[in-house]
Symmetry: C2
Subunit: 274 residues, 2 copies
């Protein structure tokens, strides 16, 4: 059978991938969950029809959301991950020996369940003693936390469906409160070609609370436009002031000490958004 | 009509774009030429079914192929462009006041004709007195040139169809001979996710002739994987040794002095290709 999956990344543009097998498909209480085996990118997790991660290119997103803040903070011990049910972000966080505890709050248990089944490499860190998984609302968890985390990573879907509460102003205030006095947060903030307003707003809201606000990018071939952005807010430590010498060797395929710094250099049309 | 154009960028992956109008379609002596009006990227030129350029994102490719070598060379006067019938590369080259002459050798007159008609902004530089357009074989033009150009830009399609002679070892030897004693060339060399071998070979062949061999990248949303590479070979001047002060303001939307340098910082899996 000549089977193709298509994601309309905008109303008028998208990607299409040849599918070997539909591994699982289910409407969870929160979203449509599909797991497909593609020829080009291996097994792929879709939520509400959008590519979340794939075996072949997952390393870019997960390394970049984790290593940039974790090498910016001088001694990250306690980390919170909101979303990220595939486990890839937790896996990268746990590569840092200073980390004593990673709390992950994922709203949809089914994402974890099927990631363990069909993305076992990505989900491998769930067995680590330092990882605690809470099935619940990340927004509420943050509102109930105070002065608790060194790092908070918002590894959410787009601000629709179960992630609708994220990317609001109250959310940034909550993150500020939940972080320790020299804490850092990073949120994925989509792409500058199709979602310029989302980035502009995330930067504006972050600036209201955090003295250090930065945007950085990476290349993810299965995500809209291939250029992905992360917004970083920090109470004290500046990611672009990090000395390359303090970035130790970490097992990676995308992140390096030089990429850490180059990822903050923005094309002119992206710079102009800020 | 709900009309969509799809390009299979690999056998099992591609992009799809909603089409407002098919503006022109023709089989030229060299290739299939289609001009379509898309909703997301404006007018778009396709050759043999592959996206060559679009009104909305053309600036990235054309700025990056031109400004990086032209700001690396201290006094570029004479420039050769092979291919690039849409005119976008010539337009960026002519933004450099030191340039006295740009010779462009495009094999397919129809590409120029329909770019002038449907991509007038991109093709606007053809009216410039410093631009000379030759309809002919760029490979032969290079083989017949000696010690003539400061800069050579290979703005070709993939090494299939009319561009089959490009990306061969004899071609690099020819470029070396056609360049002056401190000349620089840049060739577009596709993307590292799907065409790793092409990049590996281009770098290897370039190294055989040029003491300075570098790879740099940019983000182009309508090109495979969203990450595009350029291979640069230089007889003397090193693009990463260029002082930011010597990069003067140029009217751009992607290129900046900081992007010049950051574009040479490669993700680890790309670095490993070299």
């Amino acid at each position: 059978m000549n089977l193709w999956f298509t994601e309309k990344q905008t109303k008028a543009f998208g990607i299409t991938a040849k599918v070997k097998n539909v591994l699982h498909t289910e409407t969870t209480p929160f979203q449509q969950l599909d797991m497909i085996e593609t020829e080009e990118f291996g097994n792929m997790l879709l939520l509400d029809g959008m590519v979340m991660t794939s075996e072949r290119d997952e390393f870019v997103y997960h390394e970049m959301i984790a290593h940039v803040p974790l090498f910016t903070h001088p001694h990250p011990k306690k980390v919170l991950v909101v979303g990220g049910g595939d486990g890839g972000t937790v896996k990268q966080v746990l590569k840092h020996p200073s980390v004593e505890k990673v709390v992950q709050v994922e709203i949809d248990a089914k994402v974890v369940e099927y990631s363990k089944m069909f993305l076992p490499e990505i989900a491998s860190a769930y067995d680590d003693d330092r990882a605690e998984l809470i099935i619940g609302d990340g927004f509420m968890h943050i509102l109930n936390s105070e002065n608790e985390y060194d790092i908070i990573l918002i590894d959410s879907t787009e601000p629709v469906g179960p992630a609708a509460n994220l990317f609001t102003k109250g959310f940034y205030a909550g993150i500020f409160k939940a972080l320790k006095e020299d804490g850092i947060f990073v949120a994925q903030t989509d792409n500058p070609w199709f979602k310029a307003d989302l980035i502009r707003n995330a930067i504006k809201d972050t600036r209201e609370y955090f003295s250090v606000t930065r945007l950085y990018t990476c290349n993810i071939p299965t995500y809209p436009s291939g250029m992905w952005t992360f917004t970083l807010g920090s109470k004290r430590h500046d990611p672009i002031a990090v000395s390359k010498d303090t970035i130790t060797d970490v097992d990676s395929s995308y992140y390096t000490a030089d990429i850490h710094h180059a990822s903050f250099v923005l094309p002119k049309f992206v710079q102009d958004l800020l």
